[in-house]
């Protein structure tokens, strides 16, 4: 069986490791770092154009994959709501209380509210753990994408990809 993004829609370990937009695990701090899961060469550059600190570079050949400079990234999350592919999250590791905070793009109803407990899911939509919703930035006008900030135990840092608020998906876990 083939694995990887082209065959399953789920990236394999090697693909994630080789993506120039994905920061090394030890460069992710408490303030948050973009995690750009853009694995293929597609002509697109809003992440680079909207990054306020110049942490993302693509260049004139916009089919290049975005390269993240983790040192310049301040974890502001602008790119999370700008990426047309919804491929970017921001990960922050709060080592003092052993939790991870993940800001993720979300374009489904119902949107959760701060304080809710939601199901955090992996890249195959399977339940990973309960997560606490810290904050929801709803989309303004049509153009942007809502950004949901969740907190969960740090052991699931790279496993959690999104959340599930659909009633009919609750039996997947």
């Amino acid at each position: 069986m083939h694995d990887g993004i082209l065959y399953t829609g789920v990236p394999n370990r090697q693909e994630l490791k080789n993506a120039p937009g994905i920061p090394a695990a030890d460069s992710i701090g408490a303030g948050g770092t973009a995690f750009i899961e853009c694995l293929q060469t597609i002509a697109c550059n809003p992440c680079e154009a909207n990054c306020p600190t110049g942490a993302i570079s693509i260049g004139a050949q916009i089919s290049n994959r975005p390269v993240l400079d983790a040192k310049k990234c301040v974890g502001c999350g602008t790119c999370v709501s700008k990426c047309p592919g919804l491929a970017i999250t921001v990960i922050a590791r709060k080592r003092d209380d052993a939790t991870t905070v993940l800001s993720l793009p979300y374009e489904y109803f119902p949107l959760p509210s701060a304080g809710d407990t939601v199901a955090a899911v992996d890249r195959e939509g399977r339940f990973v753990c309960d997560a606490n919703v810290l904050n929801v930035k709803p989309m303004s006008a049509h153009q942007s994408t809502s950004v949901v900030k969740i907190e969960f135990p740090e052991e699931y840092t790279f496993k959690v990809k999104s959340i599930n608020t659909f009633h009919w998906r609750s039996n997947n876990g």
Binding site: H2, I5, L6, G9, T41, A43, P84, F109, G125
Partner: protein
């Protein structure tokens, strides 16, 4: 038959047609756009996802927002729109149209054909049942008329349209049980695939629909896996409690009008079939007839818009509004943009297909 005179007539008010209208009007031409539907924007209104591409050129905007912007811009420039107007043929005498139940021949100095594409279909037992529909129909129902075509869908085809329609059905509140793909890999962009996988939707490769069943509409779907020899693997059937099947199995250019006037064609599989050869200014092999958008080969809407801009500038120049030098200067950024859009691992082969069309155009000039 009644005759009408116009300077530039554009057939199709989709992304290519309106872009052409805007650029031609900016260059000083009098422009009329005819479309058989009652809205301006073509398929852009079905597209509620954000577009890829260059940030300084619509990337990040959703399709329907681009449609609104283009419509407003065209109207401000005084472009005339003929909606509910069918162009049925291009003849030596002019373009035959039916409008308000009446027949006309439109004598235009230049004609830009931006008729778009047509969806392919596939057949399986039960594929004619109500509840089996094309992706375009499902998108029109959901995103324009806001009525869900069903509650539990199976999508056939994992190209970008299939992946996007699956995502849009989830957004509208339907359940997507599976996306099936007869190839051994996913056809569309990985980011689109990842979105629906994360939402718990399986993408079943090497798989086809064996049948859809139901008395008067779809009540269930059976899929089956294919072996390396392409034959069905006995015992690999899977049942889905679906009420709707959405087909997204590719598109082909809608080329009848260009065949009818005698344009030279070439078969280029990557572009969806027979496509008209044209030069870098989108001029076909028939003098005064330009083509832009999916009719020249099925690609993304962002490509259609760039081609439209080029055709509009060139047609206005051919009418004498701007010089050939000015035409080349204005087209340059759009030609560059096409080269960028037709790069990358999914779209790179299209730049070779474009080069082939240009080469064949040159050969046909002799």
């Amino acid at each position: 038959m009644k005759e009408l005179e116009r300077e530039i007539l554009i057939i199709g008010a989709g992304p290519a047609g309106i872009s052409a209208a805007i650029e031609a009007a900016k260059a000083g031409a009098k422009v009329t756009v005819a479309d058989e539907h009652d809205t301006i924007g073509g398929q852009l209104y079905k597209q509620i996802h954000k577009f890829f591409g260059a940030a300084d050129n619509h990337a990040g905007m959703r399709g329907f927002e681009i449609a609104r912007k283009l419509e407003q811009e065209a109207k401000e420039l005084g472009v005339e729109f003929w909606l509910n107007t069918v162009a049925y043929g291009i003849f030596k005498e002019g373009v035959g149209i039916v409008r308000d139940g009446d027949n006309f021949i439109v004598k235009a100095k230049k004609v830009i054909v931006a008729a778009g594409g047509i969806e392919n279909t596939t057949a399986f037992p039960g594929s004619t049942l109500p509840g089996v529909m094309l992706a375009g129909a499902a998108q029109t129902m959901t995103n324009i008329h806001r009525v869900l075509p069903g509650k539990r869908m199976v999508v056939v085809g994992s190209g970008n349209v299939g992946l996007i329609v699956a995502y849009q059905m989830l957004q509208a509140g339907a359940e997507v049980l599976a996306v099936v793909e007869r190839d051994d890999h996913i056809g569309g962009y990985g980011v689109h695939a990842e979105k629906i996988r994360t939402a718990g939707v399986p993408i079943l490769t090497d798989t086809i629909i064996k049948c859809a069943s139901g008395k008067t509409s779809v009540e269930g779907v059976t899929t089956v896996k294919l072996g390396a020899d392409g034959a069905e693997i006995a015992g690999s059937e899977q049942e889905f409690n679906a009420d709707t099947v959405i087909m997204a199995v590719g598109m082909a250019p809608l080329t009848e009008l260009l065949w009818n006037i005698g344009c030279r064609f070439e078969f280029i599989g990557e572009l969806g079939g027979y496509v008209p050869v044209h030069n870098e200014f989108m001029q076909t092999s028939v003098d005064g007839i330009y083509a832009a958008g999916d009719i020249t080969g099925v690609e993304e809407a962002s490509v259609a818009m760039e081609e439209g801009c080029i055709a509009g500038i060139a047609a206005a120049s051919a009418c004498g509004h701007i010089s050939a030098e000015e035409c080349s200067a204005r087209c340059a950024s759009h030609i560059d943009a096409l080269a960028v859009l037709e790069s990358g691992e999914y779209d790179g082969e299209r730049s070779a297909a474009r080069a082939k069309k240009l080469e064949l155009y040159k050969a046909s000039e002799k």
